[in-house]
Symmetry: C2
Subunit: 491 residues, 2 copies
């Protein structure tokens, strides 16, 4: 065991008493939630193991952690098929806005019109329903990060793929200067050759994650197993700042790190433009998630946007994982005070429907260029509509801020108590992470937390990430911290 | 007007009387269906025009044909916001299995467990629901085209992108001969460079369509406007047979055409293998749909599969548009009597959920290589489950065959009557098309049919395609043929 100064022991005891009181007296936003985790078997238990064998014979399913009883799961608690009840701090890779079986969401399709919108899924680009423009306006544009347009898709990868296309289309329109397509362009694109299929590039960052389809995978640099054996575009990759923690003690080093990375971005744009693969856009996460929850300063993002503008490249902020509230703002990049909105912001996951907000510039002049059969799904928009209603009515962004503060200060406290085990607590809202001293220790922490009834996720090489639903409250934070304290004491 | 021999006039009159009788006495599979189209305004009408202006201010929406009242649409009839009732022979780009508001589908989410499966959409690759393996087995594997495995996705493009990845992974596993990844491979793939990101290729066909994300777009060769300005992989493209019609009068020419195309496929594989871009797979539609409803003979597909095997390339048959019954078989390639099942069969559209059936060979040995947040959607699988139940109970494949025969012989009759306007009637089941004498005439036919209350679609340069739902019966065929006859007479 590590020695801990007496002062922090005292503080943590006080916090423990305070937290225990919170848990006992707390009211959950979802009525009927369990009061805490309860574990009956090792996880995965025998029932999960049996199902995994079945599933694994039908497909590669070795990524499955356990099978879930979605009928019994409720709010922040996920119940597995062996009867284990876990506090879910991972929420389906950050894709569940209001936890499980939220009564408002279960109610959405009791409305006959909504049910018909779900069942009669149209080709939205050709035969949209009567209320589609109004719904886009009232649901999506209502939470737009300052951008006047929105194009919907089915998932995060498709959103980024199509956003990349929008960046290419916009760039080439500028290059053409108002001229129409040449016959040579029209003919050559049909056989994948320039000038019709030009060598354009999208700049991305080491550690970034933007999806796993071929083009998005070319901008994804999280883990080798995600990328190996798949052909990729030769597109420029810059370093994302790697900060030293705590931030307040490393201000000038981190500022230098920003400058180094920004200089590299500019160098790469210049060199790719020179070698005939012009950079039409920069794609970046506000917090690199799969890559290890790496954050960068508002100043970094402000300067990045200026560099993009200077070189005629669009700025695409990928909010697939950060969007829809977990950082305490609807969109994480709202923290950055950019000079103007980014050109494109992609979303999916908690938003249920995929897509991207965009400037008028990023709207293709011609139809059928950004197009597919479904172009999104009205059924998912209706779920989002009700989720956003609940977020607003219950002021869930404030809830996130409050429980995020409790979580972050609690983990920082544990960091002080166990400095050789964990460090570098970081993040915004409940979108938090910390590092373990080694990849092995990280895996141990995640596994032990699970056996105590707390589901978290790993990211990067040695980080643990929290991705709670937006109904995660202070008393849930208290439970997490107590279980985490137990784990750290055992290590 | 064209002169028509007396004999065919008599036949067509008799057919007209026969068809009128069918329409009057017919019972629709969906109770309460309108007895025919009714048109009140030009299409798009004023209400659609107003909504289009709204939508177009939020996104590029110029592909929209009209706005739909999905509450009022029923069975084969789509009702627009101006009160026009159209017989839908396009069914949302072939993506509606049972028409609109089918009572069985509207009933799916009355079941509480089903509703919870819809609302609690999980990350299926990590936390699948208790009944997921059983549902995959009872719903999807139950209609598998002889393949032992299935991997689910959200849409057609993602299905093909991930199927391409499976082809690459399988090929490189063979190349490696049991060895594990080298450090050089692991490191280089993180920066998109070989050997970790190898130059592999997928062979596709001129006129093919496999999606609009970057890699699938590199195998799509339908129209320039789909491809222009988007970077593409340098992958080999072979010619798809172009047949002369009627088939029975052009047997030897069409056989020669097959051989010419197959020889090109083999040449391309050899040359791409030689230039260090080995062909890991061939992607092909059983009937090229967007590209103009081009068909190829069973013998062509049999030999194509043998060429693929000979060169260690996988055969991917893309049944996104042809799959789930419209050709009269569950999978169109069942008509081809292949030596063995293809390596991969992709699906989406009418199947509601995307994905691909595959051989055990195409299952990656390691987890997280074919992976994303959602990996499909249980809510869509439940809709498919009920759709397949109805298809089976009502023997809809037989319905398709019957109405397909009525449509095809009726159009062939009209072809004889108007040989200078339409020709080359072709297809299987109700998955039918014919050519117009020119692109302009084609557009006119589609527009005039619409104004008479029949929705069809264009494909290729000068073809009209029918993509009816599976509940399209002989009396619907009779209505289509009568309206079409009227249109042809007016031209």
């Amino acid at each position: 065991m590590l020695s801990v100064p007496l002062r922090s022991f005292r503080r943590s005891n006080l916090q423990y008493i305070y937290r225990t009181t919170i848990v006992r007296t707390a009211t959950s936003l979802v009525a009927g939630e369990p009061i805490g985790p309860s574990i009956k078997t090792s996880i995965p238990g025998p029932a999960s193991a049996k199902l995994l064998k079945e599933l694994n014979s039908l497909q590669q399913a070795e990524s499955v952690q356990f099978f879930v009883d979605y009928d019994k799961s409720l709010g922040n608690y996920i119940v597995d098929v062996d009867g284990n009840v876990l506090l879910d701090c991972f929420s389906q890779i950050s894709s569940v806005p209001l936890g499980y079986n939220h009564p408002n969401l279960l109610n959405v399709f009791n409305d006959k019109h909504n049910l018909k919108s779900l069942i009669n899924r149209p080709a939205l680009g050709v035969f949209p329903g009567a209320d589609w423009p109004k719904k886009l306006q009232s649901v999506l544009m209502n939470v737009s990060p300052g951008l006047p347009m929105v194009t919907t898709m089915m998932c995060g990868s498709c959103s980024n793929e199509n956003a990349f296309k929008a960046l290419c289309i916009k760039y080439m329109k500028n290059e053409r200067g108002g001229k129409t397509f040449s016959k040579e362009e029209m003919d050559s694109c049909m056989i994948n050759a320039p000038p019709g299929s030009p060598s354009l590039s999208i700049l991305s960052f080491h550690g970034g994650f933007h999806g796993r389809t071929f083009a998005t995978l070319s901008t994804t640099h999280s883990k080798a197993i995600h990328k190996i054996d798949i052909p990729a575009f030769d597109w420029p990759i810059a370093h994302f700042p790697k900060y030293r923690y705590p931030l307040e003690e490393n201000v000038s080093e981190n500022k230098q790190e920003d400058q180094k990375c920004l200089a590299e971005v500019e160098d790469l744009i210049v060199s790719y433009n020179a070698k005939g693969k012009p950079v039409v856009g920069i794609v970046i996460e506000p917090i690199q998630s799969e890559g290890g929850d790496n954050e960068a300063s508002p100043e970094f993002f402000q300067q990045l946007q200026r560099i993009a503008k200077r070189h005629g490249a669009g700025l695409l902020i990928d909010e697939v994982q950060t969007g829809c509230g977990p950082t305490g703002k609807m969109w994480c990049h709202e923290y950055f005070n950019l000079d103007s909105p980014p050109d494109i912001v992609t979303f999916s996951k908690k938003m249920q429907i995929g897509g991207y907000f965009h400037s008028g510039d990023m709207r293709a002049s011609e139809p059928y260029r950004i197009f597919n059969t479904w172009m999104g799904d009205p059924g998912k928009l209706l779920i989002l509509e009700e989720a956003l209603n609940v977020i607003k009515k219950q002021n869930l962004l404030a809830v996130v801020e409050k429980s995020g503060n409790a979580l972050k200060s609690g983990i920082k406290q544990l960091e002080m108590e166990h400095p050789n085990v964990i460090n570098s607590t970081r993040g915004r809202g409940t979108f938090l992470a910390f590092n373990a001293a080694s990849p092995k220790l990280r895996d141990e922490i995640v596994a032990k937390l699970k056996q105590k009834g707390v589901q978290t996720g790993g990211c990067g090489d040695h980080s643990v990430r929290l991705r709670t639903a937006l109904i995660f409250q202070e008393h849930h934070a208290a439970i997490f911290l107590d279980k985490f304290r137990e784990v750290l004491k055992e290590m």
